[in-house]
Each structure stands twice: as C-alpha cells, then as structure tokens.
Symmetry: C3
Subunit: 173 residues, 3 copies
Amino acid sequence: MLDQTTAAMKREKQIDALLLRSEIEAFNAQYCLALDEQRLGDWAAMFTTDALYVVLSRENADKGLPVGLIYCEGRGMIRDRAFALEKTSMFAPRYLRHIVGNLAVLGEGTDGSIKARANYVVLQVLYDRPDATLHQVGVYHDVFRRVDGVLKLAERRCVYDNLLVPNALCIPV
Amino acid sequence: MLDQTTAAMKREKQIDALLLRSEIEAFNAQYCLALDEQRLGDWAAMFTTDALYVVLSRENADKGLPVGLIYCEGRGMIRDRAFALEKTSMFAPRYLRHIVGNLAVLGEGTDGSIKARANYVVLQVLYDRPDATLHQVGVYHDVFRRVDGVLKLAERRCVYDNLLVPNALCIPV
Amino acid sequence: MLDQTTAAMKREKQIDALLLRSEIEAFNAQYCLALDEQRLGDWAAMFTTDALYVVLSRENADKGLPVGLIYCEGRGMIRDRAFALEKTSMFAPRYLRHIVGNLAVLGEGTDGSIKARANYVVLQVLYDRPDATLHQVGVYHDVFRRVDGVLKLAERRCVYDNLLVPNALCIPV
C-alpha cells in the first residue's frame, strides 16, 4: 500500500515536470513567433521588469567575458531596443524564422525560479536574395520566473556560435 | 474542499492540453517522415477528404493574395499531386529532410477543430552535390479535425519565407 | 461505469506514452548538449555496455550495406573513439550545435526495449569562418533500454543524407 502511494506520488511529480517542460516549450514558441512576426512590443512583454537580456559570442562566454552584442538590464532597456529597431529602416527588408530545439529543464530554485537551456537557429531571408541563410546559431541560457502565475524570462543569455556577418544588425534573438 | 476540486480540474485540463499538444507533435513527425521517405500516398492520407492544402509565399500571404505555388482543394487533388510527383523523374535525385519546431496550439473551435502553427525547415541534398542546403523555410497554418478519432489535417497553409530556387519543383512540404 | 473505467485506463496509457516521449526528448537534449560542449566521456556514458553505434550514409543504408563512417560495437569502442577525438588537435577549432526534431516513438518490445526515430541537423562553425554551415543532416534510428531505471541507448544508427565535405573528421553525431 505504501509502495502504491510512493509510485503514485512519483508519477504525479513526473507529470508536474512534464507540464512545466511543455509550458516552457509553448513559451519559447510564442517568443519566437513574436520575433518572426516583428511584434517586438509583445516580445519585450515576455520579460520580467528586472530581466537581464544578453546576446554574446560563445568565444566571450567561454572566456567569462560579459561583453555582448546586446546587453539590456531591465525591461525598460529591452523595450527601448525594440522601439529603436522598429524605427530602423534597415531592419525591415528581411524575414527571420526561429527554430528552438533541445530544451533541457535544469531545475527549480527555492525561490521558484526555473533554469533551462535550449538550442536555437535563426534563419534569414533577405528580400533581394532567393535563398535562406543561417543567420545565427546558438544556445539560450534561461532563468524563468512566474509573475501572477504567468511564466516570464528573468534572464536570457543568448550565446551564439558564429561570428556575425556585416549586414546583421543587432537584432534580438 | 472546493479549492481542491478546482485545482484538480485545472490540472486535468492542463493534462488534456498536453496530450493534445503531444498528439499534434507526433502527427507532424509522421507527416514529415512520410515526405522524407517519399511515401506520398501515406502523406495524402493524413488529410481529410475536404482538406485545403496550399503552399504560398510569405509575400503573397502578407498581401492577402491566395495565389500559391500549390493549391489543392480536397484529398483527391492532393492525391493527384502525389501521383504526379511519383511519376516525375526529376523528383527522385534529391533527399529531403524536414524539421518542424515551435508548435503553438492556438485553440479548439466549437466544432472540435483545432488551430495550430509550427515553423518548418526543409533541408535538401542533391545527389551530385556534397552539401545540404536550406530548401525552404516557413510556417504551417493548420486546422486539424478528428475523423473516427484519428487526427487529420482539414487545412494546411504552408507559408514560405524564401523565394524558391529554379531547380525546386513544386514538391509538397 | 465500465466505460468510465475504460476511459480512465485509456487516459493513463496516453499519459504513460507522453511521459516516455518526454523522457526520450530530454535524453536527446542531454545527448546533444554533451556533444556540443565536447564532453565526449559523458556522451559515451549514455550508451549501454553492449551498444551498437553506427554512422552511415543514406545511400548505403538504402542499399542495406552496413558500411559506415563510424562503426562501434560496445561502449568500449565508443569510449575509444571519444578519447581519440579529444586527443586530436584538428577536432578543436570548430563549434558544433545539434538540433533534434520530429521524434517518433515507434513502440516497446516485450523485453522493455523502445524503438524510436528522430531527425537531426548538425550545424558547424569553423573558428576562422564567420558563417555557420550545415555539417550533417540525417535521422537517428534508435533502440533504448533501461539500465537501473535510467534510459540508455542500446543502438543508435545515424543515417546522414549529405556526402561529407573533406574537412569533416569522423566526429560523432
């Protein structure tokens, strides 16, 4: 009888983990959708007010250098960046398409924060070129937190593998 | 006591959503497998008899133009296309590999239909070229419906970002 | 009443399938992470002691030829390969990034083994080149088995679509 209860509790925990995993997957799908459709205001709203958002190269990340292509402390700075991009005429003439895979939920902190990782690929199509190209390849290092029950990013560090080509503006990923 | 019941019901609903999400993921995996292995008859069987299957450019989709590279109304037309391709000698000398990601289940209609989206990438290897290339990048706009309990596509609009290169036949995606 | 029990049992089975699917997804994410971070010892530990690990071309796989780029019988051989690569200076100057998608769980054998498939893409960045390239595209044909409750690979046959470019060492995928 005790064993049955233990087994049932173990199963409930597995289902909890599954629900969390699925929630993060759905979050990442919505996040990418907002970027792919250039709804940058919606994108900014997915962060906590005190969020850290950084885009940096794998080379710098491996050396422990925090210097990044993008460095935003707080949702205010994230919103500023979104606004700036929407006003930039050079941003428009391309399509972007994100693919996120290999989600790994790394654990929950005592404060309810959730650490996770996922690989990402950003594909780009310039309006005047027929082919799609690999714009950026990398990994998200994430900390999620709930605000009024809704999952938000308290931290997203995007570590990209590839050196960026000249025509790549500092677009969010 | 009431709170416990409410919490239990909420959890049941979350599990339902998870089961549906997972079913669509499995569907998309089977769909891509059929295309990757050139089992086009199996592919056509994944649509409802009255299904709409369209492949159109993001440019046209954004302008509200329905004109597409492929336009099939009903499974009959979808099957015809599958047959035509299997008889086309130019179709053979390439491998295709689909990757689907970023599934977003958008909701269920009162008639039991399910709206969803997912990003896709089709990678291509020509027999006489060593490297894989990005053949097509885009998004599926889907409506699923159950037929005898089995999930089928009532609508799949494939909106691709990239202009297509000349040697790309109108292959299904 | 009987119907309710049947429905409940069916649901339990669906949840079981979901838990297994999610476990394999998490496994594949960890597997790729180990390779992306060049932790090849951790990678080798994900196989059973008697595991088969093969990397072969789609062309040979289609012809039923077992000849592969890599052929390892048993974890000992897999470990040897991992060691050899870590000692190879040519392996270092590149970043790799795996994306796995389209998981299809094909069923469980009477011996508890689980058959599955998934598509994979390996993206590569050479240190002296700015752009990411498609290094390898293919499909995993897998057999999983539990060892002390933990999922391990008893067999992974990696069938790649693309001919490999000269600077590609026989790195594991």
